[in-house]
């Protein structure tokens, strides 16, 4: 599966790693919904590290669609919340 880390690029991940990643991802969602900013920062960083560690980066000029997308390392909880609101990531 191809995962994009916003602002960084795409990473190709073996499906076998998703059990591990899903745990972190669900944790991240919980923290985001409960407004736990320090927890959100910690989990996002751990999730991104795991994706980078387990996956192999795709070249910048590849045109593969991403199946999963992760916020950038420095994204704040509010920013991510806004991205996931009705307006979505791209306005319009």
């Amino acid at each position: 599966m191809i995962v994009r880390i916003m602002g960084e690029g795409q990473v190709k991940l073996d499906d076998a790693h998703f059990v591990e990643l899903n745990k972190l991802d669900d944790e991240l969602l919980d923290e985001m919904e409960s407004g736990d900013e320090p927890g959100f920062r910690r989990t996002l960083s751990a999730l991104l590290d795991a994706v980078r560690r387990l996956g192999s980066p795709l070249p910048d000029d590849s045109l593969e669609p991403s199946e999963l997308i992760l916020p950038a390392e420095d994204a704040t909880l509010d920013e991510v919340r806004q991205m996931l609101s009705d307006d979505g990531l791209i306005p319009g």
């Binding site: 991802d25 969602l29 985001m32 999963l68 992760l70 991510v80 996931l84 979505g88 990531l89 319009g92």
Partner: protein, 266 residues
């Protein structure tokens, strides 16, 4: 998976699809839709064919059962004629079981036949709809292409009108320039005539030269007049001399006549 990764991915994809929708050529969408309808029609037809095959199989089974049934009936009749009532009973009871099967199969056959008719009708209706869609699709495509062409023509026209505007401006500028030059030429003529400007072509004369010319031109006229008066004073002498010359020529003329013999034969 329902975490942040998934949700962000879904939003991204939804947005990308929306963006694609805008860029999509409606003609391609129509063709795609038509293709899908054809596939559906194909499925329905395959369904009809499957049902028809099942019906055929049932008919074959029914035939076999009926053959067996009549065979058992014959066997029963034969057993009775031979006085074997027990055998005849056995044959008839087997036949009865077969008859039950036949009745069941006939019910199934009827149901299948009904299904088949319904499906055939549906396939025909679908076919008609797909045909109608194809016509409509082609019309829409043609309209779209025409509209697109019209837009292009419109754009070209507005481009042309802009250019025409430019040409108009150029003509206006040229006209202005011509008028300006004419005005300037008129002014130069006046200035040259008045002597305020020197004529670089040397055509114009200053006032002194003009007066001298006028004076010398006048003396020429006087001289010409006197010469003509002198001619008129002695016209007779001149005329005689001319006529005499002509008479002399007349006397000599026979000798000089061309084509006449110069000497007599004497």
């Amino acid at each position: 998976m329902s975490g942040v990764m998934k949700r962000m991915g879904m939003i991204f994809r939804a947005k990308a699809n929306k963006a694609l929708d805008r860029a999509e050529d409606p003609r391609e969408t129509l063709d795609y839709s038509y293709q899908k309808q054809l596939e559906l029609l194909q499925k329905v037809r395959r369904g009809v064919a499957d049902v028809a095959t099942s019906r055929k199989r049932l008919e074959l089974q029914l035939n076999q059962l009926q053959n067996q049934s009549s065979k058992l009936e014959d066997q029963g009749r034969k057993a009775l004629s031979l006085g074997r009532e027990d055998l005849a009973r056995e044959a008839l009871s087997r036949r009865a079981a077969l008859q039950q099967q036949v009745t069941d199969l006939q019910t199934q056959h009827q149901t299948l036949q009904g299904e088949e008719e319904k499906l055939t009708l549906a396939a025909q209706r679908l076919q008609a709809k797909v045909d109608a869609f194809r016509t409509k699709k082609e019309t829409i495509k043609a309209t779209y292409t025409a509209a697109q062409a019209q837009t292009r023509i419109g754009e070209a026209f507005s481009g042309i009108s802009e250019e025409m505007g430019d040409v108009g401006m150029a003509i206006e500028r040229a006209e202005d320039k011509t008028a300006q030059m004419q005005a300037r030429a008129g002014a130069i003529d006046e200035l040259l005539a008045s002597g305020a400007l020197d004529d670089p072509t040397g055509m114009a004369k200053d006032d002194i030269t003009a007066e001298l010319d006028r004076l010398s031109g006048g003396s020429d006229v006087e001289l010409e007049l006197q010469r003509m008066k002198a001619e008129l004073a002695g016209p007779g002498a001149d005329k005689q001399a001319i006529e005499g010359g002509q008479a002399g020529q007349g006397q000599q003329a026979p000798q000089a006549q061309p084509g006449q013999p110069r000497f007599d034969k004497q």
